[in-house]
Amino acid sequence: MAVEIPKDSWAGSVRVVTLGATPADGGTRSHTIMIGGQNTLPFMHFEKPTPHRPVIAVEIKDRRPEDWSGLLLDIWGDAANDPAAWAKQAEVAGADMLVLALTLTAADGNPTTPSMAVEAVKAVLAASKLPLIVLGPGQADADNELLVPVAEATKGERLALGLCEDKNYRTIVAAAMANDHCVVARTPMDVNLAKQLNILIHDMGLPLDRIVMDPTTGALGYGIEYGYSVMERLRLAALQGDAMTQLPMMVTPGFEAWKTKESKFGQDVPGTWGNWEERAINWETLTAMTLVESGADVVVLRHPESVRRVHQAITDLMTVPETV
């Protein structure tokens, strides 16, 4: 019998955000990356083409992150001591773009200074021509103190700066506006809070096509279902035409997964958890893939093998089936 395929038709679509600028547009990147643009649920190729594939950003740090899992420090080796070398290695590992996460303190224990942050960002931009996201250490004062000079020193590169949060977004947004960058807006797993922050940032005058939202996720086993459902709801709202949800989504499964005991530790854990390294890679990969299924446009990862597996899976998801 002839089965009629039920196709959804949506009024709204996700905005396209372009990250990175080439010399033609005032930057130094070898290419730009476009994310968003969908007007179907993820990978429903039989309804409408998916304009841009989800991208993998690899997270690197301005200095060796001693609190990271030994598995990560081992695999990146000496590259983890130097953000420029690390950026190159991440590119070799298959990164579509980079996330440079600044550390709160320098190696000597004193706060990271603006000039150190600028130097690290410039070193990464010189070492790799991939588009770049720069995240502050995650404390409002330090974020503002470091990200403003970074924004100024990289004017025109169209970085994404973050994380903007409801209690601290004005300074970062102003710096992005003045220097032709984008921002990442993070809210804690709630559709309305995400909308609200997008509105606040937009009200300052930053165009919506320069905002990426990070609705926050939990790792597998640690609340991923909340992040997963919030992302599905945000994407549905966007397709239904709610303008303030029509932004691409970035999530940080690498950060979340490598924070869990399952990934961080190989000893003093139950035997039923199995081999440490493969378990840790699974934890990151499965967290990331679950979020890609729910609409993530950027997944930020840490381990090269997770990058390889997620990249392969996204390629598979982006393949348009011939007969459906």
Partner: protein, 446 residues
């Protein structure tokens, strides 16, 4: 045919007696039409109306159940496309496949390892659900012997894999009295397979490359008397499988299309790359599979997949929580520390497991934060100074310890000032943000 709410209303008693829990018969009828309630909730519906309504009130995705030796694996009965719309009900069964070409000893060892696997996650014991045995030898006696080997190592439900009815007949004889799944029927063998399924009370998977063919086959098999059907749209890569699984679920739920209103089976190991098997399985778990057949078993892969399945199938309206209480970890005494957290079960178990593992005795005070994690509860106003103070007082913690000192999670350091006001006799200490740092905090700082 699906009936509208009004059509259903006409067949109800129309007394608005509220015995069903809804204010009016019309409200109940609307819920019935949306398949959000069962007809049995109405104790007064007439018999003839019941017969008419039962067809319409059948679940859009049929419940299929595999049984063996007291074990049961259920799939189907799903009512939504997205878990946030209500919930996903029946967790997809995870099966491990062996082939009859493997030596009996190897089969037994592999099955015994996987069958005995049991991992604890937030207080629940998670296991695989069953096994699949595939006939590749072409010899019915060898297939039956392989099944016998499996049965020596596991009592869980089975899936018998072959497209040759003679093989399946031999397999079914080896598991007489059970309700396995036959995989499966195609355009060439469906008649013989349907006869076998009917005769042995087995469920039957039907395999076809297009939805048109799949729907034709299920109708034929149903006509032949088999009700418990499982669908394999034969997609072995992510994008095709996502498209077909979504289309099938939509047809069942939104169009009430009976020929495809059955659970799905998925084979993540057949994608070609063993490292991608767990990735394919993610997709099967999130996007609508009812039975998942894996080709490799390893604890480091089984554990995250079992956890993902728990997470996705958690009812979003009922966060998994633990009872607010004072939990005594490692038999604490009056001089041991008092720690405070929320009653979200992932939070509770993260904290409790860390302390338990460290061997340090402590009092763990779990406040009623409506099942939310520390940060979420704090943001929602469900984990504030007032609530913490009330909990400390209501459980009479002061009577249990010599030193009035509590440790609050680092994520809610901002509460310490208000808490000092609410609990003037108590010393408030700010602990680490993450549970894994608790043991060293207790040893070094307290």
């Amino acid at each position: 045919m699906a009936l509208s709410g009004i059509q259903i209303y006409k067949m109800l008693p129309q007394t608005n007696c509220k015995d069903c829990g809804f204010p009016t018969c019309l409200a109940f009828a609307m819920k019935l039409a949306a398949k959000q309630v069962e007809l049995s909730s109405c104790p007064h519906v007439a018999e003839d109306a019941k017969a008419q309504l039962s067809e319409a009130s059948e679940p859009p995705v049929r419940l299929v159940s595999l049984k063996a030796n007291g074990h049961e694996v259920k799939a189907g009965n799903e009512v939504v496309m997205f878990r946030h719309e209500k919930t996903f009900y029946n967790k997809p069964g995870l099966f491990l496949r062996v082939k009859d070409s493997q030596p009996a000893g190897e089969i037994q060892a592999a099955i015994a390892e996987a069958d005995g696997y049991c991992v604890n996650y937030v207080g629940r014991d998670l296991t695989l659900d069953g096994f699949a045995v595939e006939a590749v030898s072409g010899d019915a006696a060898v297939f039956a012997a392989a099944i016998a080997a499996v049965r020596q190592a596991s009592h869980r439900p089975l899936i018998l894999i072959s497209t040759d009815p003679a093989m399946i007949a031999a397999g079914l004889r080896a598991v007489d009295g059970e309700n396995p799944l036959i995989y499966g029927a195609n355009t060439g063998n469906w008649q013989a397979m349907a006869d076998l399924a009917k005769q042995h009370h087995a469920s039957l998977a039907v395999i076809a490359e297009s939805l048109d063919e799949l729907a034709d086959l299920t109708e034929k098999v149903k006509e032949a008397g088999v009700k418990d059907i499982v669908l394999d749209p034969a997609a072995r890569n992510l994008s095709r499988s996502l498209a077909l699984n979504t289309q099938i679920r939509r047809l069942a739920l939104k169009k009430n299309f009976r020929p495809l209103g059955y659970p799905l089976i998925s084979f993540p190991g057949e994608g070609g790359d063993p490292a991608q098997e767990s990735v394919m399985a993610v997709h099967a778990i999130t996007k609508y599979a009812g039975f998942i057949v894996l080709d490799h078993f390893a604890a480091e892969t089984a554990y995250p997949l079992l956890v993902l399945r728990e997470n996705i199938y958690t009812d979003p309206q009922k966060p998994i929580q633990v009872q607010p209480d004072v939990y005594e970890i490692n038999t604490p005494g009056p001089d041991d520390p008092v720690l405070v957290t929320t009653n979200f079960s992932i939070t509770y178990f993260s904290v409790a497991n860390e302390i338990e593992g460290s061997g340090i005795p402590a009092w763990l005070v779990v406040t009623d934060a409506e099942g939310m994690s520390v940060l979420t509860a704090w943001a929602a106003g469900k984990f504030d100074a007032e609530r913490i103070a009330k909990t400390i007082k209501s459980f009479n913690i002061a009577d249990k310890v010599n030193r009035k000192r509590i440790v609050i999670p680092g994520h809610v350091a901002v509460l310490s000032g208000e808490l000092e006001e609410e609990l003037p006799d108590w010393e408030i200490r700010v602990g680490p943000r993450e549970a894994i740092d608790l043991p060293s905090f207790i040893k070094q700082v307290l």
